[in-house]
């Protein structure tokens, strides 16, 4: 039977390994997402504390189970008969009192966090009404008159816009079944219950652009098209040929090794008719290119007019050029310029604070995804709302 004992032993070992991996390798994305709210810290603390308590108990009971069922059993039943027991009063008292005590501690320890999250919200008007529906979020802003349920309400599907660093309140509703309003980065999760209108408070301590700026580095997946083909080849060739100010700037900043690899790639490219049959980018060149591009994005300033010459900048890049984030050097802005320089070859950055449904509400549940957009100022948010309102009032 010992074979099976090892099999079941694997469960606690695997669980511990997965947890360890999620802590050791954050890039796997198995752990908690970055926290961008004020209450998040206490929630995370509780989360880890409870995980530690239950984790220790889980691993302990699993080990005990294996030992009792499989290893110990082999010893006890040598004479071919089972051993009977009528329980142990003292053991029962211990395993009742200890968990009750631990639960009591958790119950008291969580109260401040719960109070902060659920009750200590400012008594302000809701910034938006969030209506869940299979399978989308319908978000309603009160519009210029500040009143809900009037014809100038602003309707936005799947996008919740809030200002940064302010505790806002939303009104949560559902039009059909139970849904669960979940902002993982803000550690907010609340059920939307049919027939109820639930107040939910939260604040975001980081704007969407700040968040994107910190996560703007390029990865392999940014160069993959929908059909799975790679888009890096054309960029490599353009940089090697260095026909524009930007590409020659990039080429100058590459290491000699990478430039040598680029040159040999160009030979393959020309040999295989170039654009028609894009030859695969060798993995060495691929990782060197992505690594060096990321280095340039993080340290150089591509927004220099001399470099952007000849590039068709999109409207959003131009507006970001006008109000750069944290001075002129911004990874995000650099990335946007690079995207405009190679239109269609680099995927646009889609890192956002998620808005998800945490209730398995039907077959299309996983499609019930939206995003939270955190604006830098109230004015920026108002401008966005005004724009949306104008769009919605279009009479031509």
């Amino acid at each position: 039977m010992s074979k099976w004992a090892y099999f079941f032993l694997a469960v606690p070992i695997l669980v511990v390994a997965i947890f360890g991996a999620s802590l050791l390798f954050p890039s796997l994305g198995w752990g908690l997402p970055e926290n961008v709210s004020t209450i998040g810290k206490s929630i995370d603390f509780l989360y880890y504390a409870i995980l530690a308590i239950t984790g220790v108990v889980f691993v302990g009971t699993q080990l005990a189970l294996c030992w009792l069922l499989f290893i110990e059993k082999g010893q006890a039943s040598k004479d071919g008969r089972g051993k009977y027991t009528h329980g142990n009063h003292r053991a029962e008292v211990i395993w009742t009192v200890v968990p009750a005590f631990v639960l009591g501690i958790i119950a008291f320890a969580q109260m401040p966090a719960w109070y902060q999250a659920r009750f200590n919200g400012p008594r302000v008007d809701p910034i938006a009404r969030v209506v869940a529906r299979q399978f989308e979020w319908r978000i309603v802003y009160p519009g210029p008159d500040g009143q809900y349920d009037t014809s100038d309400d602003i309707h936005v599907p799947n996008e919740l816009h809030v200002p940064v660093n302010r505790r806002v309140r939303i009104e949560l509703r559902t039009m059909d079944v139970l849904h669960s309003f979940f902002l993982p980065h803000l550690r907010v999760k609340h059920d939307a219950v049919p027939g109820l209108s639930v107040p939910v408070w939260f604040d975001a301590t980081k704007t969407t652009r700040e968040y994107q700026n910190e996560n703007a580095e390029l990865s392999n997946a940014d160069f993959r098209a929908v059909d799975g083909t790679t888009r890096l080849g054309r960029i490599c060739v353009a940089i090697d040929e260095a026909k524009t100010p930007l590409t020659s700037f990039l080429k100058d900043h590459l290491s000699a090794e990478t430039r040598a690899m680029l040159a040999s790639y160009l030979v393959t490219w020309n040999a295989t008719l170039g654009a028609e049959f894009e030859p695969a980018v060798p993995s060495g060149l691929r990782s060197a290119m992505i690594g060096e591009l990321n280095g340039i994005l993080a340290t150089e300033d591509l927004s220099d007019p001399k470099l952007t010459e000849g590039i068709n900048l999109t409207a959003s890049t131009t507006s970001h050029l006008a109000s750069p984030l944290g001075g002129r050097k911004s990874t995000l802005l650099n990335r946007e310029i690079l995207q405009d320089a190679f239109p269609g070859e680099i995927k646009p950055l889609e890192r956002h604070f998620d808005l998800a449904c945490a209730e398995l509400c039907g077959w299309g549940h996983y499609k019930m995804k939206g995003r939270l957009i955190v604006h830098e100022t109230q004015e920026e948010l108002d401008a966005w709302l005004a724009e949306r309102h104008a769009e919605q009032e279009a009479s031509r």
């Binding site: 299979q134 599907p157 269609g344």
Partner: protein
């Protein structure tokens, strides 16, 4: 024990492997009844003799390719790339409702009300163009971005613009393919040789074969013209946009002019010129439950699906809530549905009055005589909120 383990492994492979849709080698050939195809009162399916079926299948592959390799002969490399990308996206996000060839008959479709759009007729409801025209690309993009509220069509607001455009390309492609196929099938249903009948009448085998070969030749000859016609209708869409030639009067909602506009709208609604009340009821709550059963049967759209007048107190407009959307809806009616076009006998100004009135109605139901007091129980709030509750009763799309 080991057998149970195999069983468990098998089950988890099934669960993890998921239910991906495998692309067949070809788009399936559409199957219509005579009623669906040429409006005859007959539920008989239009069956093609194998030889004609094969010819039609070949023509469709020649002109439109296969699900894995969609394409049109006349398009550039870049457009072709877009189609390939569009197909991949369509397969991921749309196919389960709208079906492999855009027939609105994907595996989820039977559970939805209203049914997903069948593109193959080339008829689209929510557009800025005239009733008989095709929608513009912008119309399709808007529906993709905003979804169609009150239906199961979700908004794809989070999808990058480029991908949305690729999806629009593919949807237009599927619609062209469907309409092309439908027109050739219509030609068969009206002009094609009825092989079964010919044999029954004692026509010799050689003659039957000859007439089939002759018909196949005709099909192949007319195909380019049919395709050109369908493509042209899509190309023209941009020329048929309905622009209100009188701009919407802008009223302050607290002004008397606004109230006067609402009153004029109300009179038109209840009067015989616009006659909105005939379908939407005097109280605006065109309610399926209140409807005369004979009316219910008559309310069928071009696709043969139940199609009821909208309860105007819900404030939910499937084709968009902008004033200009409502203007176009009243001006042109709704293609494929019962909503008639009002543009010919209503002046633009009158249409704007109705638009104002309809937009105010969900928040002020008392603008219309509300005969039945709303049943108690919907505790808090009024207006739109109450209407959401009312909508729940009428809605049958939960799944």
């Amino acid at each position: 024990m080991s057998r149970r383990l195999t069983w468990l492994t098998g089950l988890s492979v099934l669960l993890l492997g998921g239910c991906g849709i495998n692309l067949p080698g070809q788009y399936p050939l559409a199957s219509y009844t005579r009623a669906e195809l040429i409006g005859e009162k007959s539920d008989e399916r239009v069956d093609l003799p194998p030889a004609i079926r094969e010819e039609l299948g070949n023509l469709l592959v020649d002109y439109f390719g296969t699900p894995k390799q969609p394409g049109l002969l006349s398009i550039s490399d870049e457009q072709w790339q877009n189609l390939i990308h569009g197909q991949a996206l369509y397969q991921k996000h749309c196919i389960h409702c709208h079906g492999l060839n855009g027939g609105g008959n994907g595996p989820t479709a039977p559970f939805l009300f209203p049914r997903p759009r069948d593109y193959r007729r080339g008829v689209f409801k929510w557009k800025s163009t005239t009733r008989t025209a095709k929608p513009t690309r912008e119309d399709l993009l808007l529906i993709l971005k905003e979804g169609a509220i009150g239906t199961s069509m979700p908004p794809f607001r989070l999808m990058p613009e480029k991908q949305l455009n690729e999806l629009v390309d593919y949807v237009i492609f599927l619609s062209m393919r469907g309409e092309f196929e439908r027109k050739l099938l219509q030609y068969y249903a009206t002009e094609g040789p009825n092989v079964r009948q010919m044999y029954a009448e004692g026509v010799s085998g050689a003659e039957v074969q000859q007439s089939v070969a002759q018909f196949n030749k005709e099909l192949a000859e007319m195909a380019p013209e049919v395709l050109a016609e369908v493509q042209e209708s899509w190309r023209q869409a941009g020329d048929d946009i309905i622009e209100p030639n009188e701009t919407m009067p802008s009223y302050n909602v607290e002004s008397e002019e606004y109230e006067a506009s609402l009153q004029r709208g109300k009179e038109l609604y209840l009067g015989d010129k616009a006659a909105c009340y005939k379908c939407h009821n005097r109280d605006g709550r065109a309610n399926v439950a209140d409807m005369d059963p004979s009316m219910r049967e008559k309310n069928v759209d071009d696709w043969g699906q139940p199609n009821y007048p909208r309860n105007l107190l819900l404030g939910m407009y499937r084709g968009g809530r902008r004033p200009v959307d409502l203007f176009r809806r009243i001006h042109q009616g709704i293609a494929g549905a019962q909503m008639p076009a009002g543009g010919s006998n209503l002046k633009p100004r009158e249409i704007w009055d109705i638009v104002n009135f309809v937009r105010a109605l969900p928040y002020r139901p008392s603008l219309l005589p509300q005969e039945k007091p709303k049943s108690a129980g919907h505790g808090h709030g009024h207006g739109a909120e109450e209407s959401h509750a009312a909508e729940d009763d009428a809605k049958a799309e939960d799944h």
